[in-house]
Every structure is written in structure tokens, then in C-alpha cells.
């Protein structure tokens, strides 16, 4: 197996190899050119670890293969029909690019043969220019590939990867590639089906590669119905490699725009188990920890807490307290609802979250009108009805608290808007209203700061009833 690779990988090809109109014949070109002698530049690699060399050659193979594919799309894929057929092959190719294990094994089917040979054969003797070309012209090749817009990005990533693999032997236009690739990647993130070879870091240098494919259909079925997982592992890598993959770039995901490539690639970190199960667990754990972090931001007082159990305790307590607050407020609202005049409804709806000056004016005007109606002598009846219950309302207002000893209320910007609106009201209203509102304002403050027991409230409610 390795000998085959040796011979095949030793081929140095010009970047533009595919001159024939159909890709299948292009594949044959690659196959035919596989008999060329080993590139002397590669001999240096032989001194390194076999595995590393194999991987580097694979990457260089990928690199050159894809560079050739991408750099010369015009000649290859002319016409929609041909391109369509080509895309399948290319997709197969891409799909198998990550399947490094397949390269080692004897290719079983024709498709495998072509793809394997494609991997095996070409070595670009001038890596930087094609990469530059690739990186700079992703838009143009995209037009050629029907629906395979992520291809250029993959190719670009390949270039980056390939350059890394040579470990400085070649001239890596790294920063440029790295800068461009993430940009390209971010736009096309959902469409990328990454293989480990696509990692912009020297992921392979860190060692283990493992892939999980959630769905894979190599046939023409567009729907990803069969969730078959294929996990392939590689042996441990050369410990000389010092680079380590970051956690964020360990995973890439693909969306079903590309029906063939719906899998999650996970890279094992350096020094960690390559077992598929442990990798799956790590993915799961990271998902959960991500969400716990979000929750931590949301729930107050969770910054000091570490550990899932305590965090969950806090979260549960917080949710319970919020629900209790809602119940309590609904009780309060029910008591207020029964006594209020319908005039209140007019300004209530716009009053609650005043956000703009226009609303404020409306609120003020409406409050004015409603206040006048309330204060006028024509509404004695309503006043009388409200009078005996107002005192109890005042009672209710003061000891109000969210029935929770923690100061959750204070952290919520509850009455910020409201107090602003009240201050505006005071300027427009009559003196009595002014004093009342300030009293209400003061009571709000007390309400905010007080942490009195909630027991008083039900007793007050009972008293008034």
C-alpha cells in the first residue's frame, strides 16, 4: 500500500492537467501520469516518519488535485450537462478525500479507482501560485460548478492544509491563505462539508483524525435518509508535531444543501483518545457546556458557581422564582383589575414600555384625560368605589416583593421606564396628581428595595375582601 503511494505520490504534475472536456477523461489523464518517477523534492520527506510523509503527500495530493480542478474549470466543465455529471464525480472525490483510509486500501469500484488515482497522482511543483489563484478566484469557479459553491472553499482550505503539511519546506503563503480562508469559510460555512484535510491548522500534525459521517450516500439520492455513521480513525501521529488544534476548529458541520456530505467532522485533540465513542462524548459535552455558558450569562449569580450540578441548581431556583413572581404579579393584577375603570385601558396599552418620545406624549395626554375624569366630581361614584379599596391597595404596594429573598428584582430593569414616564407625568398633571404620582413613585422605590415577606399580601387581600 505504502509503496503504491510512494510511486503515485512522486508524480509531479503541472497544475493544469485537465484539458479534456470531460472529467472522466481527465481522471484518466491523472491515472496515466501516475507512472512518472518520484519527485526528488519529495525525497526529503522520506527521512521523516513514514506516516507523516504519507499524510503530507496526501495533502499535497489533495492540494494539487483540487488546485488543478479549481484552477482550470473552464476547460473541464463546459456545458451544463457535462458539469452536472462532473459534479457527481467531484462530489465523490471530495467525499473520499477525507477518506484517507480508502486510499490505502485497494479501490474497489470504478469511482474509487478514479478518485484514488486522482489523489495519488498529482503533485504540484509550484504550490504557491495555484493556491493564490484558488484563493483569489473563488467566485469564478463557483459559476462553473452547478451547486457546488463550497467547492472552492474546500479547495482553498486544501491549499492551506497542503502548505502546512510541508512544514515550511515549501513557501507557504500562510497568512494570506489563513486570512482568506476563514472569510470564505464564514460566508459559506453552512455549505462546507469539511474533511480533516480541510482543517486550516495543521490538524493532521496534531495527530489523530477521526470523522463521523452522519449521513452519506454516494449514489444520487438527494435525501439523506440513512443515518449511517462511519467513523474512521487513524493511528497516533508523530510526537514531533507540536501544533494542537483549537477547540473551536475541531468541528465543522455541513447543512443539507450538500446532500452527500452531511457529516460532522471531529478532530481529536493531541494526547486525547481517538476512540469514536470518546469523541462523540466530547462533542456532546461541548455542546452542553456551550449552552450552560449561555445560561450562566442569563442567570444572575452564576459566575461564581462552577460545575453542572450547582449551575443547574441555580437555574432551577431562578426559573422557580420567576414563575413565582409571575404568579404573584398575576394575583396582584387580578386584584387591581376588578377595581379599575375602563378609562385606564386607554393609556395602559401604550404605557408599559415607553420607548419613544411619541409614545410618551401620547401617554401623557391620555393620562391627563383619564386623570381628569378620575379627579372630576362627575366621577364620584367611581371614586367612592375605589376609595375603600385604595388604602388596601397602598397596603399591598408596600410589602410587595417577588416572594423570593434574593434580589432578583433589583437586577431587572423593571421600573426604569416606568419611573421615567412617571416623572414626565408629574410635570403635566395637577398638583394632586403630582403628589399622588410621587407617592406612587416613592412606593415603587420602597417596593424595589424591600424584601418583606409575601405573607402580608394574602392577608391584606383577605382583609379587603
Amino acid at each position: 500500500m505504502e509503496n503504491e503511494l510512494f510511486m503515485n505520490a512522486g508524480v509531479s504534475q503541472p497544475p493544469v492537467m485537465m484539458t479534456s472536456p470531460s472529467s472522466s477523461s481527465a481522471m484518466l489523464n491523472w491515472v496515466s501520469s501516475s507512472t512518472q518517477p518520484v519527485d526528488p523534492s519529495l525525497s526529503r520527506n522520506l527521512s521523516r516518519d513514514c506516516l507523516f510523509w504519507e499524510k503530507s503527500t496526501e495533502q499535497s495530493i489533495f492540494d494539487s488535485a483540487l488546485s488543478s480542478l479549481v484552477s482550470s474549470p473552464n476547460s473541464n466543465f463546459s456545458g451544463g450537462g457535462v458539469a452536472h455529471g462532473d459534479n457527481f464525480i467531484i462530489r465523490e472525490l471530495i467525499g473520499k478525500l477525507g477518506n484517507i483510509g480508502e486510499i490505502y486500501g485497494a479501490p474497489a469500484s470504478n469511482g474509487n479507482v478514479s478518485s484514488a488515482s486522482c489523489y495519488a497522482t498529482p503533485m504540484s511543483c509550484s504550490p504557491p501560485p495555484p493556491r493564490h489563484m484558488m484563493v483569489t478566484k473563488p467566485p469564478t469557479p463557483l459559476a462553473e460548478f452547478s451547486g457546488d459553491t463550497g467547492f472552492a472553499e474546500r479547495a482553498a482550505r486544501f491549499s492551506c492544509f497542503g502548505s502546512r503539511s510541508f512544514n515550511g519546506r515549501t513557501n507557504p503563503p500562510f497568512p494570506i491563505n489563513n486570512n482568506n480562508v476563514p472569510v470564505v469559510a464564514n460566508e459559506k460555512m453552512p455549505r462546507v462539508s469539511s474533511t480533516p484535510a480541510l482543517k486550516p491548522l495543521a490538524g493532521e500534525s496534531s495527530g489523530e483524525i477521526s470523522r463521523k459521517r452522519k449521513t452519506k450516500s454516494k449514489q444520487n439520492s438527494p435525501s439523506t435518509a440513512s443515518p449511517s455513521k462511519e467513523v474512521e480513525e487513524k493511528e497516533d501521529s508523530n510526537p514531533k508535531r507540536s501544533k494542537k488544534t483549537e477547540a473551536n476548529e475541531d468541528k465543522t458541520k455541513s447543512v443539507d444543501d450538500d446532500p452527500y456530505k452531511d457529516y460532522i467532522h471531529v478532530r481529536a485533540r493531541r494526547g486525547q483518545a481517538t476512540d469514536s465513542h470518546s469523541l462523540a462524548e466530547r462533542v456532546r459535552r461541548e455542546k452542553i457546556s456551550e449552552r450552560m455558558k449561555l445560561l450562566q450569562d442569563l442567570v444572575p449569580g452564576c459566575n461564581k458557581v462552577t460545575g453542572k450540578a450547582l449551575m443547574l441548581d441555580e437555574i432551577i431556583n431562578y426559573v422557580q422564582s420567576l414563575q413565582r413572581q409571575v404568579e404573584f404579579l398575576s394575583m396582584k393584577l387580578s386584584s387591581v383589575n376588578t377595581r379599575l375603570d375602563f378609562n385606564m385601558d386607554a393609556f395602559m396599552s401604550k404605557d408599559i414600555f415607553p420607548s419613544s418620545n411619541n409614545l410618551m406624549h401620547q401617554q401623557v395626554l391620555q393620562l391627563d384625560s383619564s386623570a381628569e375624569t378620575l379627579l372630576s366630581d362627575h366621577h364620584h361614584n367611581t371614586n367612592l368605589q375605589l376609595n375603600p379599596k385604595i388604602s388596601s391597595n397602598n397596603y399591598i404596594m408596600t410589602p410587595l416583593e417577588p416572594s423570593e429573598t434574593r434580589s432578583f428584582v433589583s437586577h431587572l430593569p423593571t421600573l426604569a421606564h416606568f419611573t421615567d414616564s412617571i416623572s414626565q407625568y408629574s410635570t403635566f398633571s395637577e398638583d394632586d396628581l403630582h403628589s399622588i404620582i410621587h407617592m406612587g413613585f416613592a412606593q415603587n422605590r420602597i417596593h424595589e428595595l424591600n424584601q418583606g415577606p409575601s405573607n402580608q399580601v394574602p392577608s391584606n387581600m383577605k382583609a379587603e375582601l
Binding site: 452522519k214 449521513t215 443515518p227 458541520k253 452531511d262 457529516y263 460532522i264 456532546r284 452542553i288 456551550e290 449552552r291 449561555l294 450569562d297 442569563l298 443547574l312 437555574i315 432551577i316 426559573v319 422557580q320 409571575v326 404568579e327 404579579l329 398575576s330 394575583m331 396582584k332 393584577l333 387580578s334 386584584s335 387591581v336 383589575n337 376588578t338 377595581r339 379599575l340 395602559m348 396599552s349 404605557d351 408599559i352 414600555f353 420607548s355 378620575l374 379627579l375 371614586n383 367612592l384 385604595i390 397602598n394 431587572l412 430593569p413 423593571t414 421600573l415 416606568f418 412617571i422 394632586d432 396628581l433 403628589s435 399622588i436 404620582i437 407617592m439 415603587n444 417596593h447 375582601l465
Partner: protein, 209 residues
Amino acid sequence: MVNSNLFPSIEATGGESSTESRRKKPRISETEAEIEARRINEESLKRWKTNRVQQIYASKLVEALRRVRQRSTNEPDKVVSVAAREIRETADRVLAASAKGTTRWSRAILASRVRAKLKKHKKAAKKSAGNCKSRKAAATETNRIKLPAVDRKLKFLGRLVPGCRKVSVPNLLDEATDYIAALEMQVRAMEALAELLTAAAPRTTLTGP
């Protein structure tokens, strides 16, 4: 967190509605839903804080409360607790409605009313209670040892968030995030509303004779 002045609720619903259909697919949806869920999570914390959402909720709440009041005026002899429960359920429904059906808990809240009515009609309460008991007994028989603390708490959290009892852990945490944000907004709205109403009411005492 910054109070965003955008209207992420619109865009969020656009993206989330498509996530809905995807989430129904078993395996594929996980990969896409994860991306979507992450986006939703980042947005959900903001969408419940926008002024627009708050205004929508407030206005809807007022409308609902008015309707409840009209209904309650027909039946004046209501215990406070019953009225409070009605108002709470109304508020929850309004909250769920303003979530626009993108989250599981909102759908569960909106569906719970229908389910309760159906159960009453079909008298399935006895059957379900029996099933629950048998299930619980089976669970305790098989798992003599208590579940680890974290799992217990996750289960409890699942019971707290409506409609999230049999939901996977990452989804449960997503739902809990959105639910907490929504609850905070609800509390703020109801507090402001209550303060407004109670502040308006005592005017009459001081002006009265």
C-alpha cells in the same frame, strides 16, 4: 446584555420556522439544528429584550386582561386565587403567542389548554394517571440506585419548563434559556403594568374628601 434596537424577532422567526421543519427530521436535523440553535440562542437572549417585543407583549397582555375582566365581571364571585390563576394562564398564553411558536415551551403552553379540554371530554385523566404510575413504578424498579444528581436536576428542569419533559439535554438547555429570557420579560411587563394600575388607582384617595 445590550438592548438591541433591531427587530431580531422577525428575522429570528424567519430562520426558526425553517428550523421547525428540519427539527422534525431525525438525524440530519441535528447538524443543521445545532447551527440554527446556536443562532437562536444568541438571538433569543436579545429578542426578548427588544422594545418592540415588549410593546407587543404589553399590548397583547392588556387586551387579554381586558377580556378576562369582562368575563369576570359576569361572575363577580370569584376567589382571588382563581382569578390569579386565570390571569397567570392568560399572561403565559400571551407570552407563548409572542414567541411565535418557535420554541417548544411556547407551543406546549398554547397546546395545553386544548389538551386539557380534550382530556376532560375524553375522561382520559384516569388512564393517563394509571400509566404514569406504572411508568414510575417501572422506573424505580429498574433503577434502584438514584440517578446522578445532575440527571435528577435536568429532569426537574424539564418539568419546570412546560412541554420539555422528554427533551434531549442540549435542547432542554436551549429551551430553558429562551424560557428564562421570556419569563424575565413577562415579569417586567406585569410588574410595570401592575405598578401602573395601582399607581393610577390611589389617585382617588388623596383627591377624595
